[in-house]
């Protein structure tokens, strides 16, 4: 049962990773690429990490609980750090004066 739930979580995470990579490859502009990469990447990685925390809990011992808590700390840190990193990159790009893509512009 726990196996199935963790497999579903990991599969959903890989799906979000894949959609983020497709967005990174196909969107026309740096800001739109960042929009695809930042959100789907943080959600996908949190899902994968939560799936592993659930999978590791299988023989329910104290040691496994400790490792699962560590894995959940990774999830918490990614949830804070990934949007912060995206914000920092966007702020740098805006400060350097890169203009956002508008409809009708060419791909760059």
């Amino acid at each position: 049962m726990i196996d199935v739930i963790s497999m579903i979580l990991i599969g959903l995470g890989i799906f979000f990773f894949a959609s983020g990579v497709i967005g990174l490859l196909r969107f026309p502009d740096f800001y739109t690429r960042l929009h695809a990469a930042g959100k789907s990447d943080s959600l996908g990685s949190v899902l994968v990490v939560a799936g592993f925390a659930l999978y590791n809990l299988q023989p329910f011992t104290l040691e496994n609980c400790l490792v699962s808590i560590k894995i959940l700390f990774i999830a918490l840190f990614i949830f804070i750090a990934s949007p912060t990193a995206c914000h920092a990159i966007t702020q740098t790009a805006m400060a350097l004066g890169i203009e956002p893509w508008r409809k009708g512009d060419k791909r760059r």
Binding site: D3, M7, I10, G11, G13, I14, F17, A18, G20, V21, L24, L25, F30, R33, L34, A37, G38, D41, S42, S45, V48, V49, F52, Y55, N56, E63, V67, K70, I71, F73, I74, F77, I78, A81, S82, T84, A85, C86, A88, I89, Q91, T92, A93, A95, L96, G97, I98, E99, R108
Partner: protein, 104 residues
């Protein structure tokens, strides 16, 4: 379950190669930074997959934590560095500069 983990690890590896394409061919320096951040996030997940495949998750979790911290600091450092020093190879920044000069 091991088979599923192996398939997932290979899928994440292929996605990392796809992101590497944007890292090599990205027109601006920020595309490269975003792409490297993405590859680092995927590496965290890949380390957990490797830990399950080697039956040694408790060791690989520590490596994954260290890698997450390093990835975050690397991205912030790159963003901060290019804020102080304008990137030479940034095509868009050069193009917008030319536009501003034309307006003057």
């Amino acid at each position: 379950m091991k088979d599923f983990m192996l398939v997932g690890a290979i899928a994440i590896l292929l996605l990392m190669f796809a992101a590497l394409y944007r890292m090599i061919g990205g027109p601006t320096i920020f595309d490269r930074i975003v792409s490297s951040n993405m590859i680092g996030t995927k590496t965290t997940a890949l380390l957990l997959f490797i830990g399950v495949l080697f039956d040694n998750l408790s060791m690989f979790v520590d490596i994954a934590i260290a890698y997450t911290l390093l990835n975050f600091i690397t991205t912030l450092a790159a963003a901060k560095y290019f804020l102080r020093r304008r990137p030479v190879l940034s095509v868009d920044a050069i193009a917008t500069d030319q536009k501003k000069e034309e307006k003057k």
